[in-house]
C-alpha cells in the first residue's frame, strides 16, 4: 500500500518536472502558430526557420565559445586548487576550500553586480572592455567548483598510495603524473568539465551583467525574443535544442563519474 503511494508521488513529481519540458519539445513541431493544444498538425518548418535564423546561430556559437572558455579555466584552476587542498597542509586551507565552493551558492545577481562593477572600475580602465572574455571569466567563477569537487573527491578516495607505489617502482614525478595520477583523474576531469560546460551554457543572470555590447549567448537571445509573438515558434525550437544540449553532458558526466558527480547550480 505505502509502496504504491510512494510510487504515485514519485510519478507525479517526475511528471511535474518533465511534462513542461516535453511540451516544449512537442510544440517545436506544432503546426499551429499559437500552439493550440492538442496539436493539430505536425511541421518541421520552425526547425528550418530556426536554422536559418542568423541571430540564433550566432548566439549558439557565442554560448559554445563561452562554455568552452569557462570550462578550460575551470579545469585548470579547479584541478590546481583541489591538489593544493588535498595534498598539502597550509594556513587557511579550509577557508580556501570554502571560498571556491561559495560562488555556486551566491545568488547569481550578486555575482553579476559585483563582476559588473569590478570590470567597469578596475579592468576596463586597463584597456580591456567587456566582451566575450568577461562572460567567460564570470562563468568560470562558478564553474571552477564542479571541477574542484570532482577532482577533490577522486583524490580523497584514491589517496597517495598509488603515487607512492609508482615512485617506489622507480617512476619520476613526471612519469607518475603521466601514468598514474592523470589516468586516475581523467574521468573526474571529464565529469567536472561536462558539468561546468552545462552550467555555463544555460547561465543567464551573470551573463547579463558581464556581456559586452553585441555579445549574446543563447539563453539571452531566447529571453530577448521570448515576448515577440512572431519569434515564439523559433524560440521554442531553440529551447528544445538547449534541452538536448544540456541533458547530454550531464548524462555523460553521470555515466563517467558514477554517483559522486559534483554540484549543480540550481
Amino acid at each position: 500500500m505505502t509502496r504504491w503511494v510512494l510510487r504515485a508521488v514519485m510519478a507525479f513529481g517526475l511528471f511535474f518536472i518533465y511534462a513542461p519540458l516535453l511540451l516544449v519539445l512537442v510544440n517545436s513541431f506544432n503546426g499551429d502558430r499559437t500552439f493550440g493544444w492538442p496539436p493539430h498538425d505536425f511541421t518541421t518548418q520552425w526547425w528550418s526557420a530556426a536554422w536559418r535564423n542568423g541571430g540564433a546561430r550566432d548566439a549558439l556559437w557565442t554560448s559554445v565559445k563561452a562554455g568552452l572558455g569557462a570550462t578550460a579555466i575551470a579545469l585548470v584552476l579547479g584541478t590546481m586548487v583541489a591538489f593544493a587542498v588535498q595534498r598539502f597542509k597550509f594556513f587557511g586551507r579550509d577557508t580556501v576550500s570554502l571560498l571556491v565552493v561559495l560562488p555556486i551558492a551566491l545568488p547569481g545577481i550578486v555575482t553579476g553586480i559585483a563582476l559588473d562593477s569590478a570590470w567597469r572600475s578596475v579592468v576596463a580602465p586597463l584597456g580591456l572592455g567587456k566582451g566575450l572574455f568577461s562572460v567567460i571569466v564570470g562563468h568560470a567563477t562558478f564553474c571552477v567548483v564542479t571541477v574542484y569537487n570532482n577532482v577533490l573527491a577522486r583524490l580523497r578516495r584514491s589517496g597517495v598510495n598509488l603515487e607512492e607505489a609508482s615512485a617506489d617502482l622507480g617512476a619520476s614525478p613526471a612519469q607518475t603524473f603521466r601514468y598514474i595520477t592523470f589516468p586516475m583523474l581523467r574521468s573526474a576531469l571529464l565529469a567536472g568539465g561536462l558539468l561546468a560546460f552545462a552550467l555555463s551554457f544555460d547561465e543567464i543572470i551573470v551573463t547579463t551583467f558581464t556581456a559586452g555590447p553585441g555579445i549574446q549567448t543563447l539563453p539571452i537571445w531566447i529571453f530577448n525574443n521570448l515576448f515577440r509573438p512572431n519569434q515564439a515558434p523559433v524560440v521554442n525550437v531553440v529551447a528544445a535544442v538547449l534541452i538536448v544540449l544540456s541533458v547530454l553532458p550531464v548524462w555523460l558526466a553521470q555515466r563517467v563519474a558514477g554517483p559522486e558527480a559534483g554540484a549543480s547550480r540550481t
Partner: protein, 333 residues
C-alpha cells in the same frame, strides 16, 4: 666483513610533537629475512617508510649496500615495497602492473613483457595477466604485488604487513610461499608485522619494536627464549612474569622471571594455586592459574588425556629449572 644490505644509524622521525622513531641503529645483512615486530604505533612501519624513502628522517642516516641514500627520493633507491593494501594500479591490467617498474626504467617492450610473464609465473599467476586487479581475490592481488616488486630485482624488498588482509588459512600458506620465494631469489626481505607467530616462523632475525625503539634484536629463538625485557617477553608469546614476592617464593630469589606456558606442567608437587579459567582450543587447553604466591600463570597442555583440571580446582605447577628465564639477565636462574 661484508657490507650490510641496510644500515640505519641514529634514525629518528618526529611527526609534530610525536616521536615515531626515537633513535634506531640497525644492520640488516644481505639475503636476510628480517622481521620488524611490534604493536601498532611502535614505529616499525615508519622505519620501513624511511628505508623506502617516502618520508625523510628528522635525524640519522639510511644506507643501502654501503651507499648513503638518506636524501634520495624513493625512485632513486634500489628497494621495492609490497604495500599493506597492495596499491595495485586499478586502471592497468595485471601484466601492466607487473611490468610498470620496467617500463618507467625504459626496458624495451619485448624484454619487459617477458620478464613480467616470468614474474607472474613465479607467483603462480601465469594465466591472469589480462585481468584487472579488481577481478582478483585478496590472495591473488597479494601475489601480483609481490611479482610487481620482484620483477625489478631489487637489492631489498620491503613488506608492510602484506598478509594482514588475508584470512588465516591463506595467511599460513603465504607465509610458507614467501619464505620459499625469498630463499629462491636470495633478496633481502624486511618484513613488518604485528603478528609474533608470523615473525617467529619466517625470519632469520627479528627486531622487537617498542615505542619507537628497538627493544631487542635476535634470532626467533633468542627473542623467544631469552627476552631482553618484560615487554619483549610479553609481546613475543605469553610471558608469565614472576616478580617481587612471587619471585622470592617460587624461584627463591629477587628478580624478574618468566616461564613459557608450554614449559609448565600441572602435577602433584610444585607451586600451589587455583585454576581460574580453562580455555579449550582444539589441540591444546589453556589453564589460567592464580598462584598462592601472587602471580597469574598461563599453562598450555596438549589434549592427550582425559580428566583435566576444572575451574576452581586446587593444582600445583612445576617446571624445570632451565626453563626459568631471568629477564634482562642470563638464561637459567
Amino acid at each position: 666483513m661484508r657490507t650490510p644490505a641496510i644500515h640505519l644509524s641514529g634514525l629518528r622521525k618526529s611527526f609534530g610533537a610525536v616521536e615515531a622513531v626515537a633513535g634506531i641503529d640497525l644492520e640488516i645483512d644481505d639475503g636476510e629475512f628480517f622481521s620488524m615486530l611490534g604493536p601498532s604505533g611502535s614505529g616499525k612501519t615508519t622505519v620501513l617508510r624511511l628505508i623506502a624513502g617516502f618520508d625523510r628522517p628528522t635525524a640519522g642516516t639510511v644506507s643501502l649496500s654501503g651507499r648513503e641514500v638518506t636524501k634520495l627520493p624513493p625512485y632513486e633507491r634500489d628497494v621495492n615495497t609490497v604495500f599493506q593494501d597492495y596499491a595495485l594500479f586499478p586502471h592497468l591490467s595485471v601484466i601492466e602492473n607487473v611490468e610498470y617498474g620496467l617500463k618507467v626504467r625504459k626496458v624495451p617492450r619485448k624484454q619487459r613483457r617477458e620478464r613480467a610473464e616470468q614474474a607472474l609465473a613465479a607467483v603462480r599467476l601465469a594465466d591472469f595477466g589480462a585481468r584487472r586487479p579488481r577481478a582478483m581475490s585478496g590472495g591473488q592481488r597479494q601475489r601480483v604485488a609481490l611479482a610487481r616488486a620482484l620483477v625489478n630485482r631489487p637489492k631489498v624488498l620491503l613488506l608492510d604487513e602484506p598478509l594482514g588482509a588475508l584470512d588465516l588459512k591463506l595467511r599460513e600458506q603465504m607465509q610458507v610461499e614467501l619464505k620459499q620465494i625469498q630463499r629462491d631469489v636470495g633478496i633481502t626481505f624486511v618484513f613488518v608485522t604485528h603478528d609474533q607467530d608470523e615473525a617467529l616462523t619466517m625470519s632469520d632475525r627479528v627486531a622487537v619494536f617498542e615505542a619507537g625503539r628497538i627493544a631487542q634484536v635476535g634470532t626467533p629463538e633468542e627473542v623467544y627464549e631469552r627476552p631482553a625485557s618484560p615487554f619483549v617477553a610479553g609481546f613475543v608469546g605469553t610471558s608469565n612474569l614472576l616478580t617481587g614476592a612471587a619471585a622470592r617464593t617460587v624461584v627463591g630469589r629477587d628478580g624478574t622471571f618468566s616461564v613459557r606456558p608450554e614449559k609448565i606442567t600441572i602435577g602433584a608437587e610444585g607451586a600451589p594455586g587455583t585454576v581460574s579459567e580453562v580455555i579449550y582450543a582444539g589441540p591444546v587447553t589453556r589453564f589460567v592459574v592464580d598462584l598462592d604466591a601472587g602471580a597469574r600463570m598461563v599453562v598450555v597442555e596438549q589434549n592427550r588425556r582425559a580428566g583435566k583440571a576444572q575451574r576452581g580446582d586446587r593444582v600445583q605447577l612445576t617446571w624445570q629449572q632451565e626453563h626459568v628465564i631471568e629477564i634482562g639477565g642470563d638464561r637459567a636462574a
